[in-house]
Symmetry: D3
Subunit: 336 residues, 6 copies
């Protein structure tokens, strides 16, 4: 994968100061033969020091990170930091402008597209740029998610295990420094082109997180994001600890998802009525909810049950389901 | 408007017992030359007595009413009532199956389509059936809404003033009997084809209400709906008061929307960050939120302010806005 | 309805000879500000005599009539006739070119659009032209159909009762002259904008017919159409009887559809398995077919039964059904 | 047509000064239950005096007027005028933002939608606002067009005859004052919902014009527009003559389109090769161009000929044609 | 191609008894971040013995196999067999639910997608599962087709030659055992990702077949399918011969398609009139049919001729053609 | 890339005479299971001699080449030449018939698809045929472009440098022989799947060119194309020099594009007003144009400036821009 990117930019990653510019991905269409997708990228640099990549808009319909980074771009000045902070608030811009999880141009989920392809469709080309140009420039990476249109999440910061204990330990330290009430360790997932997995291949201290959902903007989630970003920059060594307001925050409860049984799938298509609340603690076998049939209301609803015990950290937000949709998933205390 | 409906049905509104059937609207398409849209309709009848129409699915992406009525259909038996209860849980079925506010067939908002047209597109033909066939059969009408995909609402039951004081008094009595924590009186809106307005023309005691939003299923809203339906049936005289569980409920706080200044519109297109919480009490001039530009993050956000004082009873749910979208609206105590 | 048509044409209906030209309906779009929909129209005239309108393409996905009239246009010469034959082989041309029942431009079913509207969408404007310009010019009308994409039909010629016994008698004589094996009398249908109903309002001797189906070209149906057209022209007095080949044809069996119970509707959405053959004679209560669920194959199929006795003259062609689709309809001998 | 508009606005037409605001048309959709289409409207007023409406964006893909009015809004100050200038640079905003002739929301051509309908689809509701609210406020009206995506035009200012000689005389004076090299008198067209026709019903001195085409921005056309707007304001009495730069302009050549024979239609679908230049003088019978078949290149091209003599003032811009598209039209000197 | 599948399932292929479950393919979209495509799979097992895979829904618009397998799933019990029968009635479920040949999700033809790709679009991921998980589990494979929306077929069972004479002989024995009136040997086709070709690479005894067409359900074809499945299970050794009803069936006529000249392509776009019947025997040079132009009916039709002699085993079903569509193909007696 | 093409054809490239036939690319869809995309290809051969490939329709919305080659096909006879001329006037036929730059089937830009893939989507399969079948047959290649829907170009013939000085010299000789007023040398572009780059890999003398734009047919550009084709055939040795009319043409001015700074990108989305003319000579820093906001006309326009000096050889044709669209590009005299 040593093919060069086709993306060019008007920011200079090596220059001191603050530059608010764009990444340009050539994209030739009927309405623009020599068109480019213009993705905002900001570089704030003040001499030597750590390099951090802050990213949102991996999924276009997740907004707390996008807003948090827009605010950071306007307020963070070179004098506030040392080293380099690269801020990309809407990395899959076509998806962000469409309020969609996947790009409206190629239908691709950016978070399944790594390591990308410079000659692939736009989502692959953008992933390739992050993987081949941005990741090699930084030591710390923060990828801000929020559940998207279809899911509601208890807000949490997260990390993904890499198999390298030292790296995982540095990530756990960063996760605790971020200061969210809840922290998630993703361990069981197979490699499927995630930005996080790709970042681990580059040896980055890499955090994710889900800070809301339902395609909405959570005021609580946004507050966690805004505080967490600054704590992350302090933890990375880009900002002095004194830059943080003195607040007492509870230690982070760390949980994990152990296997596929933590997920409940819709057993039929219809209207899903949740029968437990987000955040509830449930037992295996307990009823999770039931599917109703508004086009055939005399038909008995079909019940879905939990197959494990734990805390409901995610629920389907949208009322209508297809068979196979995830309607809830659990987490249990991390025994890392 | 004395043109006959083209809708036919396999339920007999005059027969005792419970019939779960369908309304059939002829709809000829390439995939079905002699097709019909089949809309579920249930009639539960037990001799003489009041007639009540319970309806949901006016907007397809509002689910508490749809689920509440599906559950009622399976559990309410003729022996439980006297008179007649007509239950239509998904009146604009094409919209309900598409999780959309407006019909995917004709793009029409059912709640702007009254009094309808039997030879118009499907949404108009369905509205005409409700107006010309169902409304004349009943004395009480309940139309269950929930804010839809785009709005979050504090759950409330509502009525619309008719200009006929006696009828309005009977509606207010029904509204208080429904037992929701909040009640809304809509007064200022001009006639725009609402189901409620049409029902008032028929002299019905008519309630609406918003019981959630965001395209989701609110467990709290569903509970208010399920209790309220049974209280409404008791109030209408279809069920004995003893049928209700003994619960103490707070009296309903009744509010109203006085004019257009209660609404805040998005001043630009972008990502809307709300700066107050749903349910907050605000003053005129206070900041409501601001619009960020993820494609141009260096641009200053554009601020939206409240133009009146009151309680924030509704907020935009979806993060992305176009200029002119309602981002919040207020209500103040009813001085009816 | 005295508004003038906006359609203009390069054929002169009053001139002797054969003119193959077009009707032009102004239709302004982004791709053609001054565009016109060009609908072929042929006039063959030889002095005084009866005037006949032969039309196909009422539904764009019914082809025997379209092909039969294309062949007639190339072979019928003024010297073969007296009077005037107007041939419009693809009246709703946008639908014909899209192989669709309804127009791809406005989604309107031409056979529900009469009497039309000169300022309405294209389908209404074309219907208005037929109603206000062509119908007043002729005494005989033939509208060739074929079941369309969704239905298979036993081929038949048809008429619709007008309430005027003398006119109906003249139509029945024409129907028998057409010489199809089967003839249908449509009586029970309410006025819904049919071309046939509109033609009756103009006092025309008017025939329809279904000559195939499934979106295909039936060789048998095309043969019936080609012979029937010439017999119809002889019957109308436009051609001498000697122009017909001497063939012995069986007398037409005449049937009718008495009421809505002759139709069987799909009781659920899924795959419909027909359990009787087209042309079979069935009894009320007999099984018509059953709906299977390929996404949930363990679910029991849902059975549909005939509600009347008679001959199965039409069956659904397409395998997949939605609830409410007509899956079969019956006819019984006409007792006119 | 005395139904009230549903459009509200934040500009006050009666107030002195310059207000740049919006017209809000309520438009309820799945993505915005309480949404509004926000159409920019500017009012510049300085005491008593004539009232003028300047409008562009009637067709969304015609840009010289849109740009000219955007520039006017930013530069024209109350002190520069007397009376009132209302400027609406993108009246059918959904079409303007989509670069489309017709609205992407309802597919309606704004210039066929007059007098509009307040309860119709958005394009009809906007037309109704112009007709019922704006036209009664003004005495002069300028509606700036440009040929759109599909046509190239020699730039001209235009008027439409009203049947009222005095009014037509005042319009001709305004047309000559506008100072374009070419002026067009449209006489033969039947009423088809044009903004111009509607303006004449209100007795306005009303001008149109085509200032470019091909979906492009003509620098020459824009210059004619910008000069013409100021001359029109002077002619209307809103500005002193001294406000104009002293330039010598040629008198306007005035032409007309006498009948349908001035238009040449594509005789088949394919690639149209024009064989005369825009602006050429041609004779009846001369070849206009020919249609080639790139999918069947051995087929002989089909030739289109002029049916009248005159100057080619308009040609089809886009290479591909459907049968019935206008490929050129002529004009001849006005003999008004 | 040793990448693991991402599909998981709730059936256990190694367990005795009957399990009706689903294959779950993770498919993340805006409407379901953690969604899965749920494809029904049934396993019926009774101890040791042969393993057979029965599949339909390779093309979504071919229904006899889908219905036949749905019926088998509900009626075949473990006690009826020995060994294992895996039944997948709708393998490309998105296509089956859309009545489409190709998947509506990715536009891919499942029968051109082998050996698939676990990280490709859904159709490739499903093909990969069949190739890498199901094929290695079985010795016999039956893939039920039907011509689809566009073609009508004389019903036949088929095999594809592998180049391995012993394997081909076993397939021919199975083909004859299936007992259809007609059998086809596909020899000339190059490898293009067919399920059959992939099965041959795994050494399976593999049959296909076309049992109807036109997007319809053939009662005759379904009967051949239902009988053939049971005969195939007997032949494979899963069922005792006594399980079959005693019926006399004619021996299978075996035919083949020798080269590209057996196919007739539409010579132009328009309405295709077939001039021979399905099942007819024709000579090279004979007219197959002709293309008419309903938008230009005076134009001479374009004739298509057979380029070989043989039996017409397939004809285009749909009336409208594009240049290059197959309108008929022949077969001749197999000289294997 | 030694996989064989799946395209077959009815022309024989080795036979003397003129054959107008088609390339058939198998393309299986719901509407045509055994369909083929039929791309016209003409072979004109007269004994031994040079072989030339003339191609247009690389981009479907560029018409001068398509028309020029259609005319050549009908007029060039074997006796006029020696050797072989292969003419493909609409190579990406689906795009050509859709007037689109990219294929409507797969959204792929043909000129980014080389060397193609025989099993890829149609655009890749066609590119593969050109690369693997046509290029090896010829020594000269001409690929006729025109700017497409979005750009206006000063007409020019072009070549691309190969790194092989001898080959480049032969291309420059051919470029000068073509005789256009302007010639372009493309040097800086990285390999991105261009047809030209692929042709160079085969060692062909290869010319391109842009002969108009805006989705229109330029009469001047077409004249340059028609003359240039014949001069190119003479230069290649297929035609005698005497076959050319004696005309004096100016020598070609040869220019080049040196780097990315020659391109100006739109700095925001809106309406772009060009402030210089096509063909103008400009200085670095000069204003190129400005973006206006018709939905927010009070906002200041955003200015775009040239970053280099040179001649404006290309401008954006369409009025509306997105950020990142190319609005102009420069060229300067070639210092090859």
């Amino acid at each position: 994968m040593n093919k060069p990117t086709r993306i060019f930019t008007d920011v200079d990653y090596e220059k001191d100061g603050k530059q608010i510019g764009w990444l340009y991905l050539p994209y030739s269409t009927t309405r623009s033969a020599y068109g480019n997708i213009a993705i905002p990228a900001t570089v704030i640099r003040n001499g030597d020091g750590p390099s951090v990549l802050l990213m949102a808009g991996n999924h276009g319909d997740e907004f707390e990170g996008q807003i948090g980074l827009c605010k950071l771009i306007r307020t963070l000045e070179p004098k506030d930091i040392r080293g380099r902070v690269i801020v990309v608030p809407g990395i899959n811009l076509p998806a962000a402008l469409a309020s969609a999880r996947v790009s409206p141009i190629d239908g691709v989920n950016f978070n399944r597209a790594f390591p990308g392809d410079p000659n692939g469709t736009p989502t692959y080309a953008i992933a390739h740029y992050v993987d081949s140009v941005l990741f090699p420039m930084v030591e710390f990476f923060l990828d801000l998610h929020s559940g998207g249109s279809s899911l509601d999440y208890m807000p949490f910061v997260s990390m993904r295990t890499s198999g390298d204990g030292a790296l995982d330990g540095r990530a756990m330290a960063a996760l605790r420094a971020f200061g969210a009430p809840l922290g998630m360790v993703w361990a069981h997932t197979i490699d499927a082109g995630f930005a996080q997995t790709a970042a681990l291949r580059h040896g980055l201290v890499s955090l994710g997180g889900e800070f809301g959902g339902g395609g909405s903007v959570s005021r609580e989630g946004l507050q966690i994001v805004e505080r967490g970003i600054r704590r992350f920059l302090v933890h990375a060594g880009c900002m002095p600890a004194e830059a943080l307001p003195t607040e007492v925050s509870r230690p982070t409860r760390v949980v994990e998802v152990r296997n596929r049984d933590y997920f409940v799938l819709a057993p039929d298509a219809g209207l899903f009525e949740p029968l437990v609340a987000l955040g509830a603690n449930v037992e295996a076998g307990e009823v999770c909810g039931q599917v109703h049939f508004v086009d055939d209301p005399g038909r008995e609803p079909v019940v879905a049950r939990f197959r494990a015990s734990g805390t409901v950290v995610s629920q389907r937000h949208l009322g209508r389901v297809e068979r196979g949709d995830c309607v809830a998933h659990l987490a249990t205390d991390w025994n890392g």
